[in-house]
Symmetry: C2
């Protein structure tokens, strides 16, 4: 029996990533995105933590669709910025027309920060809310450093300027499979997958 | 006898501000800016603290001019940004043509941050280095909150979006005298002024 789960996002790249990661872990899972369900008023991301924002989004998704719903909130935490952009990563460059890409602004902001203080971590929090109200949370983290120049065409967001520990390539220079194996979101999703599989099995039993 | 002090900045508004503040405190002081002395290679602001960057600038100024030299480093520390923009305040919006004003970007970044989490502080560190190598440091702080919309034509930088504690106006809606009386830089400079006056008196004697 197919299990349907909603990922509370409009971002096709996040959906593709989740499908790639869940497929081997949760057989017969069908992942919908917010463009696949009737539209509803989505909550603003007003919380100070990734987990808080992911929970807001997953709870709203269950409330409006009654589907098992996953939401992630994630971002780049830069040491020299006391952990920012953090929960503000997605809107770091603002909303004005002609704004730079997020990673371009970040490189400009960090231009005078020397190599030894360019440490950073990608952090993802994933919250699964089931129709009965049960909540599960998982976090994933990938540590590394901020490059001096963007490199690579893969990935999205800040990937072209993030070099994982032990690597010389940026995340955007890796294949999707290489990225999934180490990424913050991959790690968080692999932690939540067994819970989703168990919930699916219980649903199948009725 | 006139005492000459160099403020290591090209910013005319900072010079005017320093002159206004020092005039009643250090009689006969003459304040020069970096545009009034032969140009030299100024250090990049590579330090993680206001004090560290102010020290770099003041030490370089003494080394190149042999004048008693003041430098300030200051910025806006936003609670919901873990204290950033902080030392990166002056380059927060990057360097690209067509970039927004610093405070416009900040308002965009904080658009989803609710009123109860909009606390912030302006912090200034002032370092005085004398030709004999003696160093003095003073810090000033002004706490308040980030407005929803810019207001006022006075001041500079983030003043139009900063509302000091106990005020309903932004810093940019105050007169220069009102601002100096409470501002972070005013507080830091008033702490360093007696040291400058004492150094001036010793120079006059010696």
């Amino acid at each position: 029996m197919t299990t349907t789960v909603l990922l509370a996002t409009h971002n096709r790249k996040k959906l593709d990533e989740l499908r790639r990661i869940l497929r081997p872990l949760v057989p017969d899972v069908k992942v919908l995105g917010l463009d696949d369900v009737p539209p509803y008023a989505e909550p603003a991301e007003t919380e100070p933590t990734f987990e808080g924002n992911a929970r807001l989004k997953a709870q709203a998704a269950v409330r409006h669709t009654n589907l098992p719903s996953l939401a992630d909130d994630s971002g780049l935490c830069v040491d020299a910025m006391n952990g920012m952009p953090g929960v503000l990563s997605a809107r770091w460059a603002g909303r004005q027309p002609g704004r730079p890409r997020e990673y371009e602004l970040l490189l400009d902001q960090l231009a005078d920060v020397p190599d030894e203080r360019r440490g950073a971590a990608f952090v993802a929090s994933v919250v699964l809310v089931l129709p009965d109200g049960t909540e599960h949370v998982a976090e994933g983290r990938l540590t590394g450093r901020i490059a001096r120049e963007p490199r690579g065409q893969g990935g999205f967001g800040y990937d072209p300027v993030f070099i994982p520990d032990g690597e010389s390539r940026t995340l955007a220079e890796m294949t999707p499979e290489e990225k999934d194996a180490i990424s913050h979101r991959g790690r968080a999703l692999r932690r939540i997958a067994p819970i989703l599989a168990k919930a699916a099995a219980e649903r199948a039993r009725g």
